[in-house]
Symmetry: C2
Subunit: 272 residues, 2 copies
């Protein structure tokens, strides 16, 4: 583990940092292969957009890139986590004039998911914990993650991921993944205008699917649409594409669309 805090190697931050006090910041997690973070430009676009939406002054991209290269150097694979908070200020929600942003750039261990998750697929469940709608933070990868944590804590043994619904019954995403379903030959993924995180891998799937002659639509998806679907898969920047083998008692094949998408995303993911 190697972490730079505002450019200096470190392991601790001020207890008064607004990241700790209020979750006042954004983050990115990138897959690292052969010393290089993958999909850098896409992650940076979301990162700078998030910082702008929260009104936090972002560092220059070149600075982040140099720090990322410094921590990733020599790593055959790993996870690059970049965080930006509004920094240290006095108590109270209003940021003080003295607050200067805190950035952390760290290389963390590669998660040890079984290789079979990608080849054979995963078991998934529906979570009871709802994801809120009309969220001003929709789309952003921000530091307020309690809904996802509570949903994640529901997972039964043997379940690799849980799906989160909003109070209208729309399924939005997994706790740490975006959701895709294949229904009568069309690839569908939930609309994230009012909740959720617009995943970098999700964006890339949506861009590349048309070249495979796969019809693709961003839309509202309910639980019954998922249970009726022909194929289901999950994405994020670390896992790439996981076929879903089972949701509760419904079983799915790892179908041809999922395999095509896995194949075309190979350059953007880290091999197991």
């Amino acid at each position: 583990m190697k972490i730079l805090i505002n450019g200096e190697p470190g392991e601790s931050i001020s207890v008064l940092d607004r990241g700790f006090q209020y979750g006042d910041g954004v983050f990115e997690t990138l897959a690292v292969a052969n010393g290089q973070p993958l999909l850098w430009d896409r992650h940076m676009r979301r990162f700078f957009h998030g910082a702008m939406r929260l009104g936090i002054q972002a560092p220059a991209e070149g600075l982040l890139r140099r720090e990322a290269e410094q921590v990733c150097r020599g790593a055959s694979r790993g996870v690059l986590k970049i965080m930006l908070t509004r920094g240290v200020s006095g108590r109270g929600y209003a940021p003080g004039p003295e607050a200067a942003p805190t950035r952390t750039v760290g290389l963390l261990p590669w998660p040890d998911y079984p290789a079979t998750y990608r080849t054979d697929g995963v078991n998934v469940q529906f979570c009871h914990t709802l994801i809120t709608r009309h969220n001003i933070l929709a789309g952003l990868k921000h530091l307020n993650r309690l809904e996802q944590i509570l949903a994640r804590m529901e997972l039964k043994d043997g379940c690799a991921e849980g799906l989160m619904q909003d109070e209208t019954g729309h399924v939005i995403e997994g706790t740490m993944t975006n959701l895709f379903v294949v229904s009568r030959g069309t690839l569908l993924t939930p609309d994230l205008k009012s909740s959720g995180v617009t995943g970098v891998m999700r964006g890339l799937v949506l861009e590349r699917a048309p070249a495979l002659s796969i019809d693709c639509r961003v839309t509202g998806i309910k639980r019954e649409n998922i249970l009726d679907a022909d194929e289901v898969f999950l994405t994020n920047s670390l896992i790439g594409v996981w076929p879903v083998r089972r949701i509760d008692s419904r079983e799915y094949p790892a179908g041809t669309v999922t395999r095509q998408i896995q194949e075309v995303m190979r350059d953007a993911t880290v091999a197991d």
Copy 2:
């Protein structure tokens, strides 16, 4: 400023603490007068309830009390802030088995609100930032505070507080206060079942109002109900009771009910 981190004087926490990584924790802020935190039992009830809802192992109350007395000793007035996070664990929303909670107990400076806020009242505005509904975290004072921060950042010069509505047009609370309105002799405060923080001072007002022969009701309150109201006031543990003098262009008198409530809350608040 005097802070104990897991019982030891300190100023920094691990960058891997889940409080910093995800806002995974709860907090309390108590007024301190003459070396003593006010309304300790009520704050502790909410604190332990919040920890339980998040599944975080809380420390013994006696230990917190001793630490609180240690940091508050000799302070004529101040703010006691107690935080509890799920502690340090590896990356990912699932808490690792190694996570041991982090507690911080700190004395922070008394906020320098003008004394006229309590005597003459404050100017308030409606915020555009919505507060989400159907929030599994409703009622808790948790560390995911981005909605409140974004709302707070909207405040115009001269506005001491902003009111937050949900997407159905119900006004839930201020960014850092609970809301009361007096309408045809009845005291009303918003229902917090689906959003908001159940303030300790709010609870005490609801308990004490009946003894003053003031009818009291927890209910849905919309913007028009507030603009039609006879009196409006705001509460929290630090400010006590602030009359609202103006919301946008509507002016209010600091009416008799507000004055009665201020008077009966005097023992529970810190004098300016």
